[in-house]
């Protein structure tokens, strides 16, 4: 496996989506290739950090406007 072939599959690798055979080939390559090891590690870190980004909470006035808009469109109770 070349660096290029490994590079193409790294996201699938860090997401655990590859077969055992391919994972074995990747590990064999990484055993002698520090740049690929570091690239894989920092790519996984990038994905993990995304998951931990803070979300913007809905402002109360935006929630209130949504409720007002929907109440005009909700079916009328019988």
């Amino acid at each position: 496996m070349t660096c290029r072939e490994l590079f193409e599959r790294l996201s699938e690798y860090v997401d655990g989506e590859l077969s055992q055979e391919i994972c074995e080939e990747i590990r064999k390559h990484m055993n002698g290739c520090d740049p690929c090891v570091h690239f894989a590690k920092t790519l996984k870190t990038t994905a993990d950090l995304c998951r931990r980004l803070p979300s913007t909470p809905i402002p109360p006035e935006v929630a209130a406007d949504l409720r007002a808009l929907l109440s005009a469109h909700l079916p009328k109770p019988k």
Binding site: T2, H38, F39, R51, S55, T56, P57, I58
Partner: protein
């Protein structure tokens, strides 16, 4: 039947309280997604309203073939992409991300590129609150079609299959876009961490581009 399934069933019968409960259960998630995609309150509000109006109007058509949240993300994603097509708001250029351009390449002597392992630094920087803004800026630079996939998959935590349902792509296309998007954001972070290392030793702006970012292939023969 879960609580949510009960609410969906009641909503399909036109139960107003159930519809309202569904909106309340999902409004934070949809708003956070819309804000991440649009980066301004007015556009995010439009998308939020369009998503829940869509939900109220078509909940009867929801067939339980996907999760309810995925179905909502689909409505919200369509609203985001429609907004872009209308030209109302589009910070990201329409471009393809090429793996050849994103792959680190060897130096002029053909040696492998130096790739620093900054994963520990990133952890510390996140804890110190320094990294979020930098990451948001990197994600904002992504072309819209890549950004939506990365946001759904890595930020919102949908599976590849759910993301594919939400954006109407094949799973293979989602994986391909996700990989390019991640590599792009990783490169932005690498530049940040390398730049910080250099800044203490006096930073030449011409050197600020990462050593990795040379857009040729890493090693064709290995």
């Amino acid at each position: 039947m879960t609580d949510e399934e009960a609410l969906i069933t009641a909503s399909k019968r036109g139960d107003t309280a159930a519809l309202d409960a569904l909106v309340r259960a999902h409004q934070d998630r949809v708003y956070a997604f819309a804000m991440r995609m649009c980066r301004n309150v007015e556009d995010a509000k439009d998308i939020l309203q369009e998503t829940f109006l869509g939900m109220v109007r078509s909940v009867r058509e929801f067939r339980e073939e996907s999760k309810f949240t995925t179905w909502l993300y689909r409505i919200a994603s369509n609203a985001c992409l429609k907004k872009r097509r209308r030209g109302v708001h589009d910070p990201s250029p329409d471009q393809e991300l090429s793996l050849d351009e994103l792959m680190p390449r060897p130096d002029s002597d053909g040696r492998k590129p130096e790739i620093a392992d900054w994963s520990e630094d990133a952890e510390q920087a996140l804890l110190r609150g320094e990294l979020s803004q930098r990451m948001e800026a990197a994600i904002d630079k992504l072309p819209r079609e890549y950004k939506i996939v990365l946001v759904l998959r890595d930020v919102e935590g949908l599976s590849a299959e759910e993301t594919a349902q939400a954006v109407g792509l094949s799973v293979a296309a989602v994986k391909s876009r996700l990989h390019r998007a991640r590599v792009f954001v990783r490169r932005e972070l690498a530049e940040y961490f390398e730049g910080r290392g250099k800044s203490s030793a006096g930073n030449n702006p011409d050197d600020r581009r990462s050593r990795e970012s040379n857009p040729r292939v890493l090693d064709q023969n290995r």
